[in-house]
């Protein structure tokens, strides 16, 4: 297990570095000049040149890359071209919104998806099993922002029970206020996310229900619940956990979209604006942080899987049992 952990960590670092290189190059491939964002109609060529010099995009690409790597290694994400303000602290300030939004939405999605997915599989032959299945299909097809607008129309504009958007100026000083403003966004993301999760849970459960081992366990006298608990659940949960890691990353993307609809001061708005203005340090900062997070989540999902499933430990880890974990 220790060897596995070391290998996995090295892999994490290499992936992050490669992601950084790809990110840096891709951004520069998008046609455009960041200096444009600093200018307005009426700017003279001198002003354009001065703007380029100011933000350093007049330097050769390799030089820019090396200086960026240098900053990164000092955990400094640089300063925005447009606002001239440091990127790191702003990302930190906005994570206060995006992280709770993502995690809460994810948790809610799991809470919805697991029982519903199980039911949809267990009652696959009945009318409500089919209805649940069809609803989850529909949920996958519906865009996040549309669900958000629908919820705003019902709960804010008509019923007036929840705010249509915004976040308290003092962040989490009053957790009640903060949670109130996050309620609709969380539900929005969770509804859309749970739709695809339901389908994973349903198909994993179907596999288990049709398996020989479950039938054998029943034949040996186990109750259905007992057999499901001892054998079925453990098998069904393996593919679901692996998909959860990916889903958490997708939830983050959903949060980015929903922030604009609900006027939340999270990472999403910052990223969209960064792109519009070719503000490389802002885009790079956010994407490096989020890529790192996604890689970490993948790492964690792998570990959890290995804890659940002894077969993975034997075939990949080299060691026989979970000694290090």
């Amino acid at each position: 297990m220790t060897a596995y952990l070391l290998r996995r960590t090295a892999f994490l670092v290499v992936s992050l570095f490669l992601a950084a290189v790809v990110l840096f190059l891709l951004l520069r491939l998008i046609p455009g000049d960041p200096a444009n964002a600093l200018l307005s109609v009426g700017a003279s060529p001198d002003q354009v040149a001065a703007a380029r010099h100011l933000i350093g995009t007049d330097r050769p690409l390799p030089e820019q890359f090396v200086s960026w790597l240098g900053e990164m290694s000092r955990l400094d994400l640089g300063s925005s071209f447009v606002s001239t303000l440091p990127v790191g602290p702003e990302i930190a300030a906005r994570l206060v919104v995006t992280v709770p939004l993502t995690l809460l939405a994810f948790l809610l999605a799991v809470v919805i998806a697991v029982p519903v997915g199980f039911l949809a599989a267990y009652r696959a032959g009945t009318w409500y099993g089919s209805v649940l299945s069809a609803l989850s299909q529909l949920g996958i097809a519906v865009p996040v922002f549309w669900v958000g607008m629908l919820l705003i129309t019902v709960f804010s504009l008509h019923l007036g029970v929840l705010p249509a958007g915004g976040f308290p100026q003092d962040d989490w000083a009053d957790p009640g206020d903060a949670l109130t403003s996050l309620t609709l966004p969380v539900v929005t993301v969770a509804l859309v996310m749970s739709a695809s999760l339901i389908r994973y849970v349903r198909s994993a459960t179907l596999d288990v229900l049709g398996s020989d081992y479950l039938r054998t366990a029943r034949a040996l006298g186990s109750s259905f619940i007992g057999a499901m608990w001892r054998h079925g659940l453990r098998n069904a949960v393996v593919p679901v956990v692996s998909i959860l890691g990916i889903e958490l990353a997708t939830t983050f993307l959903g949060a980015v979209v929903v922030e604009s609809v609900f006027a939340l001061p999270g990472l999403g708005g910052m990223l969209v604006k960064g792109f519009a203005q070719h503000d490389y340090p802002v885009i790079q900062g956010i994407l490096v942080v989020s890529t790192f997070t996604v890689l970490l989540i993948g790492f964690a999902a792998d570990l959890v899987q290995r804890l659940i499933d002894p077969r993975l430990r034997r075939s990949l880890g080299g060691n026989l049992s979970g000694d290090g974990a």
Partner: protein, 515 residues
Amino acid sequence: MNSKTTSLIGAALVLALALAGCGSGSSGSAGSSGSNGAGATAAYDPDATVEVGSLYEPQNLDNTAGGGQGVTEAFNGNVYEGLFRLTDDGKVESLLAEDHMVSKDGLTYTFTLRSGVKFHSGKPLTSADVKYSIEKVIAPDSQSARKSSLEVIKSIETPDDSTVTVKLSGKSISLVYNLSYVWIVNSQAKNLTTTEDGTGPYTLGTWKRGSALTLERFPGYWGTPAANKQVVFHYFTDATALNNALLTKAVDVVTSEQSPDALANFTDNGDYKVNNGQSTTKLLLAFNDRKAPFDKVLVRKAITSAIDNKKLLSSIWGEYGTLIGSMVPPTDPWYEDLTSVNPYDPNLAKKELAEAGYGSGLSFTLDTPNYDPHPTVATFLKSELAKVGITVNINVITADEWYTKVYKNHDFAATLQEHVNDRDVVWYGNPDFYWGYDNPQVAKWVEQAEQSDTADGQTELLKKVNQQIAADAASDWLYLYPQIVVASSSLSGYPVNGLNSQFYAYGIKKSGGRG
């Protein structure tokens, strides 16, 4: 389903985000907004908080370092003041300058500063601060949109603490007007991108980026104190979210309504007032006047006459907005109605095309910025021009591509663009400007206008400029945007015009109820 998969997902996320970003654009144009809320309210709460909703968050807090339209909206006249102020109806008034004198040759301006003015930090205002502030705008690294118009300044002297003498390299009738854009900042202030030290009726409370900026009434203000205690600018990126905030009373007023469809929620609703003010934002179909076929006046006139601007405007803004027929909006002193110079008349257009040698038709590419309303307008133009035998190829580009391709490289046939500044007809006097309109007579009038001794002389010459560019159909001025301020009916005293993106908040009165 292990490490390889998850790392792929990480890379896919990066790609997805990168691609998502390619499509989003933002208008990079410079500023325009202005004052005088309607409706008198009887009793108002002098300690009220006014919640303002806006789509224009400042980039940073320094208008010479790329702060943009947002910082002008929040700070101009509220936190910072100039020697002069541009009022909501387009007039220039003295503000921090009590008096000013112009020498006979028009090359020396002497300003006397108002006494008793203090910065928010407590330091009294002196002539050194004025000199510092003007020099900041014309410095080599300045990103101010007004830099070029103030480059006529040769030197600034400060004979004593309350006198500033500005020497010019040539006469400039617009100097006083241009100085209304120069914020007077404390010459010793630091970190002006995140803090402020101005002389205005408000100080900066907090700025939570991506969310809101708070202004607090400044107790040491030299003039009439603000009619409210606090102003909070709430920032939105989505026009629908902004309207929802107004509908749920999370904000009291929207500085500039950009979503025509949403207006129906507020008109005929006693809780709100929809104010139809004057903007200075013009939507242009700009031709590249250098290149065939648009180097021919007749072709440009034909296109102008082939497009039904009235129908275009009403399809986008309904009953709002104005037709102008030239570059000059009604709030500029040299405005006149020129909509009849190139009237909508498809038959005339066909005749003019034939006369220009394009009787069998022509085709051109229209570079269209990818944000509203340009794509809709392009489609409309395409169908209008098809009726007179002109084929339009719509080429959608981002704001950024527009700057590089059209604005800097002049590599285009025709383009759509909004021009937001007031008094910007003078660009037709510059043959190097992106649209390449080159008429030496017009250039001369523009130059002479700037050197006039009187405002009347300037107005007369710029009227000539305006008439000439209309006669030459230098561009096709499709329409003037409306400036729509929607406010709760509990508010009064807010600005309603769209001049220079400014939003003077100190006169806003809020009556009872919600604090």
